[in-house]
């Protein structure tokens, strides 16, 4: 689909109506969904009603904002009042939230048109969207490949033009990695910049909501709309939200860019390495000063994360007990039986695995050896970043060590799937903003992403470097060829 800027101008000049734009998205969805399965639910009636309201406002001579009338896909772990929200889990298959998440409320207020709820790994646990209880999503660049995860549906939908932008959530890379695999822009903001109210909790100290878009400008506009203090989220930061688009300038003169040495080691696909090195050379050509930076504790991120995130998840998912909402198993003899069987039937294998890991490492006698130690390692990783940002403005690395892998390629070995998040996890542990921008393709035509990491609340720097790079290259202008 066209950019937010183009669609906005069409609406303002009355060249197209919001209904026509919505219909374009819905027709595209109808055409490509049989191959992609990006959406768990297409909310066509809801979208057309929202578009009608926008058209009425325009007809009445009202001024409209950038996002008014723009079609968006919403990850299915964001609560939408009156619209089923499943987290791609059997246990929430028929859950209709009685309230609206802060981010979707803000977007509805801005006049955005929600076209559907996107597929994801169950409870956002996974790196390929394959743990969804309902369907597999294909990568628009090659339908035998995964779209990445956990926000794979949101990434595939934007890449394939089923909506202009979408929202995902990122706990260990779940926005940036699928953005990289699908050849689009994806951003995880600073922890606390965007309210988590109404986001179904996975690992509360790591979860953050962020945008997917075809361009850095679209991502910047959407981020501006969802960011900001919210009294309903106790971890929300009381900071002013700037107009992020005013940082989008093409010149990188004087900008200090650090290359994280440890992300170029073992396990990195040589084709990804070559393309990312070319991207770094491009940043230099744009005037940036390139420095090699060492983050020696970076590589311990995965181990720390797979203790911390499952610990938080095991506590957060205790609420699915078949009592207040969600599925309940029939004919249980007593309460304990009902809990155990409801959860056994309601959760998939990966969710069970993480609940088990979390329950084990938090159980009596193991707390110090695992959870407390992981929290201490988290401090060390944070210190590595703090030292790096004394020397540079942003850090760069590959977003993922490989391009999109085959559907079914890693499902039998859980640990191999965990290693996919090597580059992105430390950013969540330190609460920093990170973005993936398209930076090329491998020899099989699969997209590669460059990760740009900023200091706390320096989304401006991340977006500026991404924008300058994007404007100097042609990668973001390429479309996947779906038949």
């Amino acid at each position: 689909m066209a950019s937010i800027r183009t669609l906005h101008q069409q609406l303002v000049k009355k060249e197209r109506s919001a209904i026509e734009i919505t219909q374009e998205a819905l027709e595209r969805i109808q055409a490509v969904e049989p191959q992609l399965h990006s959406f768990l639910q297409v909310t066509a009636d809801h979208a057309l009603a929202q578009a009608k309201q926008v058209d009425d406002r325009i007809a009445a001579g009202e001024d409209i904002g950038w996002l008014t009338g723009i079609p968006i896909g919403i990850k299915d772990n964001l609560c939408t009042q009156g619209i089923r929200t499943t987290c791609a889990s059997r246990i929430l298959e028929n859950f209709v939230p009685p309230y609206e998440s802060t981010v979707t409320a803000k977007l509805a207020e801005a006049g955005m048109v929600m076209v559907g709820k996107t597929n994801m790994d169950e409870f956002a646990m996974g790196g390929s969207t394959e743990t969804s209880a309902f369907q597999l999503t294909a990568n628009p660049w090659n339908t035998s490949r995964v779209p990445g995860g956990s926000s794979g549906g949101s990434a595939a939908a934007v890449a394939a033009g089923e909506c202009t932008v979408s929202l995902g959530s990122d706990t260990g890379g779940s926005i940036r990695q699928p953005a990289s695999f699908c050849g689009i822009v994806g951003m995880k903001p600073t922890y606390g910049l965007v309210s988590r109210y109404g986001l179904v909790a996975f690992a509360s100290s790591l979860d953050q909501i962020g945008p997917f878009a075809r361009s850095v400008e679209d991502a910047a506009i959407l981020l501006g709309a969802i960011a900001g203090y919210d009294p309903k989220d106790s971890t929300s930061l009381k900071v002013a939200v700037p107009d992020y688009t005013r940082f989008l300038t093409p010149d990188l003169k004087g900008k200090k860019v650090g290359v994280i040495r440890e992300t170029f080691g073992e396990g990195l696909d040589p084709e990804v390495e070559k393309v990312v090195q070319q991207a770094i050379a491009q940043l230099k050509a744009l005037g940036a000063e390139i420095r090699e930076i060492s983050c020696p504790r970076f590589r311990y991120g995965i181990a720390a994360y797979y203790i911390i995130a499952p610990s938080e998840a095991s506590a957060n998912l205790a609420r699915y007990d078949g009592v207040k909402y969600g599925a309940r198993v029939a004919n249980a003899d007593n309460l304990l039986e009902m809990y155990k069987r409801t959860r056994a039937e309601g959760f998939g294998a990966e969710v069970k695995r993480r609940i088990m890991i979390g329950t084990y490492v938090l159980s009596a006698g193991y707390y110090d050896a695992y959870y407390l130690k992981a929290q201490k390692v988290r401090t060390l990783i944070k210190q590595d970043f703090e030292q790096a940002f004394e020397q540079v403005d942003v850090l760069v690395s590959p977003t993922a060590p490989t391009t999109a892998f085959e559907l079914g390629g890693k499902t039998t070995d859980p640990l191999s799937m965990y290693l996919v998040d090597l580059m992105t996890i430390p950013v969540n542990l330190a609460g920093l903003p990170g973005l993936s921008v398209p930076c090329g393709f491998d020899s099989q035509g699969l997209p590669i992403g460059l990760q740009i990491i900023g200091n706390v609340l320096r989304e401006d720097q991340v977006l500026q470097v991404a924008y300058a790079y994007e404007q100097a290259t042609e990668w973001h202008k390429q479309d996947p060829q779906l038949t």
């Binding site: 606390g192 311990y300 009592v323 969600g326 088990m356 084990y360 407390l372 201490k376 542990l429 330190a430």
Partner: protein
Amino acid sequence: MLDRDQVHKVALLARLELTPQEEEQFATQLSNILDYFEQLSELDVAEVPPTARAIDVSNVVRADELIPDLAREKILENAPDRVDDFFKVPKIMHE
């Protein structure tokens, strides 16, 4: 290493009923994952303070005021089983 007995105990704590095959599979998989965690012992963390949240916001309070909350009926509509305005659960005590 985790054996099947331990997996069974953890599953009870987590309120998960696992099949014997799942117990067997999890014993292997969780052992592999716990082995992977061993690399953390390469780091000396004795003097390092823990981080629970990367960006800490503390003492977040609000005025204790009565405000209208969600409609009771809307909430109860999602309940798997109910009696009037109560959530209904299977019996808690054994015979």
